[in-house]
Symmetry: C2
Subunit: 546 residues, 2 copies
Amino acid sequence: MHGQMMQLPLLISSLLTHAERHHGEQLVVSRRVEGDVHRQSFRALAARSRRLANALTTLGVQAGERVATLAWNGHRHMELYYAVSGSGAVLHTLNPRLHPDQLTWIADHAEDQVLFFEASFLPLVQAVAPRVKTIRQYVLMTDRAHMPASTGIPNLLCFEDLLAAQDDHFEWPLLDENTASSLCYTSGTTGNPKGVLYSHRSTVLHTLASVSPDALNLSSRDVVLPVVPMFHVNAWGLPYAACMVGARLVLPGPHLDGKSLHELFEAEGVTVSAGVPTVWQGLLAHVETNDLKFSSMRRTIVGGAACPPAMLRAFQERHGVQVLHAWGMTELSPLGTAGVLKGHQLNLPEDQRLAVQAKQGRAVFGVDMKVVAEDGTELPWNGQASGELMVRGPWIVSQYLKGEGGDPLVDGWFPTGDVASIDADGFMQITDRSKDVIKSGGEWIGSIDLENIAMAHPGVAMAACIAAKHAKWDERPLLIVARKPGATLTREELLGFFEGKIAKWWTPDDVVFVDAIPLGATGKMLKMRLREQYGNHLLQAAGEVT
Amino acid sequence: MHGQMMQLPLLISSLLTHAERHHGEQLVVSRRVEGDVHRQSFRALAARSRRLANALTTLGVQAGERVATLAWNGHRHMELYYAVSGSGAVLHTLNPRLHPDQLTWIADHAEDQVLFFEASFLPLVQAVAPRVKTIRQYVLMTDRAHMPASTGIPNLLCFEDLLAAQDDHFEWPLLDENTASSLCYTSGTTGNPKGVLYSHRSTVLHTLASVSPDALNLSSRDVVLPVVPMFHVNAWGLPYAACMVGARLVLPGPHLDGKSLHELFEAEGVTVSAGVPTVWQGLLAHVETNDLKFSSMRRTIVGGAACPPAMLRAFQERHGVQVLHAWGMTELSPLGTAGVLKGHQLNLPEDQRLAVQAKQGRAVFGVDMKVVAEDGTELPWNGQASGELMVRGPWIVSQYLKGEGGDPLVDGWFPTGDVASIDADGFMQITDRSKDVIKSGGEWIGSIDLENIAMAHPGVAMAACIAAKHAKWDERPLLIVARKPGATLTREELLGFFEGKIAKWWTPDDVVFVDAIPLGATGKMLKMRLREQYGNHLLQAAGEVT
């Protein structure tokens, strides 16, 4: 027997409609590629999204077809988020940090029909356009005054001209909630990139769960600045969450350096921000070097990579900004866990509280998780037993686009490729990526713990720990370190810094100082490249390889 | 094209599973009918719910069959919430404040198979059992030691014996999320009661939306005491919300007087409570008479009837307890709106802020609302235009059980029977029930405004304003008032109190003092009965009716 409640689908367009009706005066503030700061109300956002939906119709975009973007965080990108998905097409956010070869491959694989891009990425588009097969129309996301005289891209359209030609009446279609809404490729380090195809249902459920007090805790009283790009897993869902709760949204455009961000935080009264640790490193360095402070920031959401404990302390103890450590993946829309303290943890001694916050956090409602041993048996939640993290939930991938890579699930669970433990309170802690773990004489050493210790040294700007081949132990930890400008840190000093902080046999065997750690397109350290370069370092040092 | 995310149904059992895994040590504290205070962890709650699900199987309860309860707020009732719905049957919460004739009619209409009840309601069950046709099994919700020697109810089972005989292994079935989960009858004042049949989907979506910061704002750090009964619209969903967020739940059992509640608030460190204004009147009177305070309470959710502004002030200004004014209906699961201030309202002068909080609030995400004129056209959101409130959303009724009363919807919207206005910020304010509005010479007078003014007078315990027949104006407002003990308030004094607070022609024509205002089974004033009794009062006073 079925219940007798209204059968209304969960649709992305309903987020926009809600924002327009209930928070019509709320603002989206965008620092644009053109250099200005643009402000528009949710009411205007909704009207322009409807114009854009009409424009997509005139461009011949059909339901289910992919419309790609190459753009920063800004209002035009947000209009595309709603117009494309809302009208029944699929928004495909391309990552401009990828190589033109990869972009060409991905756009063809996704069969993108139209590409909307910002002026910053014109050279990239010029490199891709002659080779990509499926894109039949290019639109430059700017106004007539900023259109370049000649681009070499045939029949290039101007975004604002397109909108000006349209009516702002458009009825959002009542789609099946399982309709595909958006597409994001994982930056796979092995094999071809794989497409994760979100649905309206998965997106709305993810948004509902993510705004709750035990997750990102977002309300109409917040001013939210996503540093995390809208081309990277939907900016962790914040463009959707802002509409659901009616929060002011501040979109930073192309300038993500510490100075630009801090100015925007202060000028717009930002209360909550979100980004990866490398961005926060830059921000903290700028703030501390220039003796600045955060006058409105209450909270910063750190994800994409583990938040080093030193960063946690810096934000909370020196700047009064609470850190919310979160974990997710492209395959999870992306939110999986959030490090929100439970009631009984609020009054823990500071060190213990920070230790809890340094973990990746508790599963948000909707996500089931477990850690399993190599034979697949579930491990206990004791904060010690560590194994591969598996997750399940209505906003988690069931299959990659076109079945690429086969069935990713194991008995209905998605294997994350992370090695983690879960404690009795349900706080998950990632000890490593399964491919980064160091297997020393049959025992596992977590590279992240060692990196966190190294990063806490005042002379270290960034540190990566990799498994280097070893004649006796198979693998031993090797530390690759970029010093802070002016720091004179030595190998002995740094290795001495580990004493008493870990078991002695976990201490790295050696340190290699480099100018910079290589970062990938999403800001993560490219450990695979480091392993290629330094994997034989210990053997060479021992004279066993030349 | 469909998205490729996991197809996992939204199920009530997933709330319990989440609570067990992530908040296993969190407590459900119950003051029981037996007189003791019982404590059990969510882990134990989950295990007992599984035992109970096994017991339902042995009782022969089939998927979709109705299992009824007559019970206070307590852990056994909560176990039934999860065991019955979770196993695929339908939980039917009967309202013990109804007359045995009504209960018999409702139980037969719902085709209840099994009735679980608490000892308080034995006389009621003894009155109903000989006449009700469908109930084939009765279970008394107590342990062996508290089973009465003789009840006259054939084959009466003991709840704890039932559980003791079962194993706590039970696999919650993977139901279609649209499966019916629970049933609640509206206390219709006209015609037969009508059944609202909730689904797993509607319940989980309602719970997700209700815990968000712009709705009830519930977290794992809260200690929640629902005064609103679990037999009345699922205690506003709080037994579900507590499991979703891992909040401690304090269930008050049968004693809802001010003294009992205040003791429990203080003993258990309750941070959030929820109930109807009449309950809070009793609580405030007790606290103020005895010069007590609230040491842990942060917030109280007031719904079921309009929160009088005087109560709002008393809680916030005298006791530091924030009032969250909310509105809902049985047909809405029940949450429709919540009076959560927006950012720009936080710094309003106190009087203006209180005026916003006195409104019923903004639609929670998922609920669409509009007010319409008598011809059905939508009225502007200007805080003035007032018409019937219509709502739409995935946890709103589409049809009553067995099609009773025909199609309740108008163009896909549910007409609430409330007359309301909506302001530019989306705050809805109910001015009346459409059947209670006073039509004076073609103009509408809202009875609630007049009641609120009367209730603000220190000599008034409770006030109802009804439409009394009038020779010239058709209808005029008549005030029915119960004085506070010892108060010597006169007609002239009270009518003078209205001066300057409303348009002169809104002033009630007369006042009738009574010992008590009659209340219905859900604590609401029975205005229909007052109209029957006093509807001709003005004509009689004018000598036009004898």
